[in-house]
C-alpha cells in the first residue's frame, strides 16, 4: 500500500491486505470477474441513465415521468449539490480516515467559513478572495481544535466525539449571537451570473426544432471546481510524498511514527486542510443556497449520511455518496416533495442493511 504508484487508496481500512477498491483498470476487471451479474446490472443502469439524460423522450414516457425538463433540472441540481456535499464530506472523511476521530463540529466549521466568506465578500467585493478567507479561518480553527482538543485525548474516540458535540453547541450559539437569526446569501459575481445553454435536449417542438436545457452557470462552475479539488486530492494522496505519508498513517500510524515521521505535524496539516475545505464549502453553500442557524446541523447530517453511504474514511466513497445523496434529494424534491429528505435516509438504511461498512470502504 505504500508504493507511490498505487491507485488503491480508499482509506479507513484496518487490514492492509484487504481488497483495494476503485483501482482504475485492473480493479475494475477484478470486480467484473467477481460479480458478473452485478456488473451487468450496473452497466444496464448506467446506460439507462445516459439514455434518460441525452435522448429526447418518447411521448408516452413524459406522461409517466413528467416533463423531461423537470427531470434534467432535478438531476443537474442533484449532481451540483453532490459537488457541495463532496466538499464538506471529503474533509470529514479525510480527518476520520487518518485520525479516527469523528468531528461533529464539522458543520459548525462549514457555517463559520460561510459567514467569514460573506463578510470578506461584503468588504472586498471579491468572491474568489472570500474563498481564501474562509479556507484560512476554518483551517485556523481546525488547527486549534487539533492542538488543544484532539491531541489531548488521543485514542479516546467517544470523549473526542462528545467534546466536538459540546464545541458545536458553543459555536452555534456564538454564531447566533454574532450573526443573528437572519439568513444571508453571498452575492454571485457578475462574471458567473446568468444561465448557459447546454447540449441536452429537453423537448422537441412541433416544428422539429430541439429545445436545449439552460442552467445557471455558477452551479456548473462550482461543480467543476469540486471535481478539480477532488481530483487534486486524489493526486496529492496518490502521487506525492505527503500523500504517501497520509496513506501510511491511515494504515498504521504507530509504525509511521516509529519510522521518524512527525506524525503530529501531519495530523495538524490534515485537520487544517479538512476544516479548510469545509470552510470553502461554506462559501459555496452561501452562494447557491443561504447561511442561517441550523445550516450547520443540516450539513453535518448530510456529510454523516454521505460518508456512511460511501464508506468512512474513503475519498472516492465520499464522492460516490455525495452524488447519490445529492441526486436522491433533488429527484425526491421534484417528484415527491413531502418525503424528499426521508428518501436519503431510506438510502442510508438500505446501505447499512446490505453493506454496513459503506459502498466503497475497504473493510
Amino acid at each position: 500500500m505504500l508504493t507511490v504508484g498505487s491507485a488503491a487508496w480508499a482509506g479507513g481500512g484496518l487490514r492492509p491486505n484487504a481488497f483495494p477498491v476503485l483501482c482504475l483498470g485492473g480493479g475494475m476487471n477484478a470486480f467484473v470477474a467477481r460479480h458478473p451479474a452485478w456488473s451487468l446490472v450496473m452497466i444496464f443502469v448506467v446506460v439507462g441513465l445516459i439514455w434518460l439524460v441525452f435522448a429526447p423522450w418518447p411521448p408516452g414516457f413524459e406522461e409517466v415521468f413528467g416533463r423531461k425538463k423537470l427531470f434534467l433540472n432535478a438531476t443537474f441540481n442533484g449532481v451540483t449539490l453532490g459537488g457541495l456535499y463532496f466538499l464538506v464530506a471529503s474533509g470529514f472523511t479525510l480527518i476520520f480516515g487518518l485520525m479516527r476521530n469523528v468531528n461533529l463540529a464539522h458543520g459548525s466549521i462549514y457555517l463559520l467559513g460561510g459567514y467569514f466568506g460573506y463578510m470578506a465578500n461584503d468588504i472586498t467585493g471579491s468572491w474568489l478572495f472570500s474563498f481564501v478567507v474562509a479556507f484560512f479561518v476554518a483551517a485556523f480553527l481546525g488547527v486549534l481544535l487539533q492542538i488543544f482538543v484532539f491531541r489531548r485525548m488521543e485514542g479516546e474516540e467517544l470523549r473526542q466525539t462528545l467534546v466536538t458535540i459540546g464545541i458545536s453547541i458553543v459555536l452555534a450559539d456564538l454564531m447566533l449571537w454574532v450573526f443573528g437569526g437572519n439568513s444571508w446569501q453571498i452575492q454571485t459575481p457578475t462574471w458567473l451570473r446568468g444561465p448557459v445553454e447546454l447540449p441536452f435536449i429537453t423537448a422537441v417542438k412541433s416544428s422539429g426544432e430541439a429545445v436545449y436545457l439552460t442552467y445557471p452557470i455558477v452551479r456548473l462552475a462550482i461543480f467543476a471546481a469540486s471535481i478539480v479539488i477532488g481530483v487534486g486530492m486524489w493526486l496529492a494522496l496518490n502521487r506525492t510524498r505527503i500523500g504517501m505519508i497520509v496513506r501510511a498513517g491511515v494504515d498504521d500510524r504507530e509504525i509511521l511514527a516509529a519510522m521518524g515521521v512527525r506524525i503530529q505535524l501531519v495530523f495538524v496539516l490534515v485537520f487544517a486542510f479538512g476544516a479548510g475545505l469545509a470552510g470553502m464549502a461554506g462559501v459555496v453553500g452561501g452562494t447557491f443556497q443561504s447561511l442561517s442557524p441550523g445550516e450547520d446541523t443540516r450539513f453535518l447530517l448530510a456529510s454523516l449520511i454521505v460518508v456512511i453511504v460511501g464508506g468512512m474514511g474513503s475519498i472516492p466513497g465520499a464522492a460516490l455518496g455525495a452524488i447519490i445523496i445529492g441526486v436522491a434529494e433533488q429527484i425526491g424534491l421534484a417528484y415527491f416533495p413531502t418525503y424528499a429528505i426521508v428518501l436519503t435516509f431510506v438510502i442510508m438504511v438500505a446501505v447499512l442493511a446490505v453493506r454496513p461498512q459503506g459502498l466503497l470502504a475497504r473493510r
Binding site: L162, G166, I169, I341, L352
Partner: protein, 354 residues
C-alpha cells in the same frame, strides 16, 4: 441529596449480596425528602423542576443503560420517547377528534409502549451492525430522519404544528394533570425505572451485557449471542424512554417535531454525560441540573449582567467542562472529592464509557 445516595449505591456495588441492606439509609432519606417535597415546594417547582427532571432523567437513563452497560451511545432515545408520545396521542384522544383513533388511555398506552419497543428493536438492529462512534452517527441520522418525517407528514403526525390538546387521564377520581398528582406519578415511574435498571445491571442479562461491552469476541466465544443481547438492550431502553415520552406528552399536553429534533436528542446525551453514565442515578442528577439551568438561566445570566438568550452557550460550556475534566460526570467529581485523601484508591466509575 441525590449525591448521598450515589455514595451508598457505589459502596453497594462492591458487595452485591448486601446491597438491599446497605442502600437503605441514604436512599430512604432521599425518597422521604422527595415524598414530602409537595409540602415544601410550590406547584411550579414541582412540575417545572422536579417532574420535568424525573421525565428527562428517565429518557437519559435509557441512554445511560445503553451507554454504561452496553457500550452503545444511542442518540435516538429522545426519538423513541417522542414516538411513544405521538402514538399515545394518535391511538388515544387529542385535539382533533377526526385524526385520532380515540381509544381509552389504558388501551393506547400499552399499544404505544409496544410500538416504541418495536421501534427500538428496529433502531437497535440497524445500530448493532456497526460499533462505537459509528453507532452515534447512525442513531443521530435516524433521529434526524424521524424529525424530518414528523415535520413533513401531515396525514398522521400533523406536520410542523404537531399534535396538541392531549389530555392526561383521570383515574380514581384524581386529575393526574394537577401538579401534586403528576409529581407523584412521575416520581413513581422514575423510581421504578431507576430500580429496574439497577436490578437489571446485576441480573444475568445485565451482566452478560456488561461482558459484551468489555469484550464482545470473548462473549461470543462463550456462546452468548452478542447481537441479540444488544438488540434486547435497545428494547429495554425503548421501554424506559417510552414511559418517559408518554409522561412528557401528558405533562406538556402536546407533542411536535420540535420535541424530537436533533437539539433535543443531543440534550439527552448532554444530560446523561453531565450526570455520569457509570451509575443509574447519574442521568437524574444531570436532568436536575439541566432543568434548573433551563428554568433559571435567564435570571442567572441577567444577574451576571450577561445576555439572557445565551442559555445554550452556558449548557455547551458546562458540558465541555464536564467532558474535559470529569469524563464520568458529576458523580465522578463527587467520587474524586470523596477519595481525595486516600491516594491508594483509584477513583472508580471511569469505565462507564464504552
Amino acid at each position: 441529596m441525590a449525591l448521598a445516595e450515589s455514595r451508598a449505591r457505589r459502596d453497594a456495588q462492591s458487595v452485591p449480596s448486601e446491597w438491599i441492606r446497605r442502600i437503605h439509609p441514604a436512599a430512604a432519606l432521599l425518597l422521604a425528602l422527595l415524598i414530602i417535597m409537595p409540602a415544601i415546594a410550590n406547584s411550579f417547582i414541582l412540575v417545572q423542576i422536579f417532574a420535568w427532571s424525573f421525565i428527562l432523567g428517565m429518557i437519559a437513563l435509557s441512554l445511560m443503560f445503553l451507554a454504561g452497560y452496553g457500550g452503545m451511545v444511542s442518540l435516538a432515545q429522545m426519538t423513541i420517547a417522542g414516538f411513544a408520545g405521538y402514538m399515545v396521542a394518535i391511538f388515544g384522544v387529542h385535539g382533533e377528534p377526526a385524526a385520532s383513533i380515540g381509544w381509552p388511555w389504558w388501551v393506547a398506552v400499552p399499544i404505544a409502549l409496544v410500538l416504541a419497543m418495536i421501534f427500538g428493536a428496529i433502531i437497535g438492529a440497524l445500530a448493532v451492525r456497526t460499533e462505537g462512534i459509528y453507532t452515534i452517527m447512525i442513531t443521530l441520522a435516524i433521529a434526524a430522519a424521524f424529525f424530518y418525517f414528523t415535520n413533513q407528514n401531515y396525514a398522521i403526525f400533523n406536520g410542523h404544528t404537531g399534535i396538541s390538546s392531549i389530555p392526561t387521564p383521570h383515574l380514581f377520581g384524581v386529575n393526574w394533570h394537577n401538579a401534586i398528582p403528576f409529581y407523584y406519578l412521575s416520581l413513581l415511574w422514575a423510581t421504578l425505572a431507576w430500580g429496574a435498571v439497577t436490578w437489571l445491571s446485576r441480573a444475568p442479562f445485565g451482566l452478560a451485557l456488561q461482558g459484551i461491552r468489555d469484550n464482545p469476541r470473548r462473549m461470543a466465544a462463550l456462546g452468548f449471542n452478542v447481537n441479540a443481547h444488544r438488540i434486547a438492550a435497545y428494547v429495554v431502553a425503548a421501554l424506559i424512554a417510552g414511559v418517559g415520552g408518554i409522561l412528557l406528552v401528558w405533562s406538556n399536553g402536546q407533542v411536535a417535531p420540535g420535541t424530537v429534533n436533533v437539539g433535543a436528542a443531543i440534550d439527552i446525551l448532554v444530560i446523561a454525560v453531565v450526570g455520569g453514565v457509570g451509575n443509574p442515578i447519574g442521568p437524574f442528577i444531570g436532568a436536575f441540573i439541566y432543568a434548573i439551568l433551563k428554568t433559571f438561566a435567564l435570571d442567572i445570566l441577567v444577574t451576571l449582567a450577561l445576555d439572557g438568550n445565551r442559555f445554550r452557550l452556558l449548557i455547551g460550556l458546562g458540558f465541555l467542562a464536564i467532558v474535559f475534566f470529569s469524563p464520568d460526570g458529576v458523580i465522578g467529581l463527587w467520587n474524586r472529592w470523596r477519595n481525595r485523601g486516600t491516594l491508594a484508591r483509584v477513583p472508580s466509575g471511569g469505565g462507564g464509557h464504552g
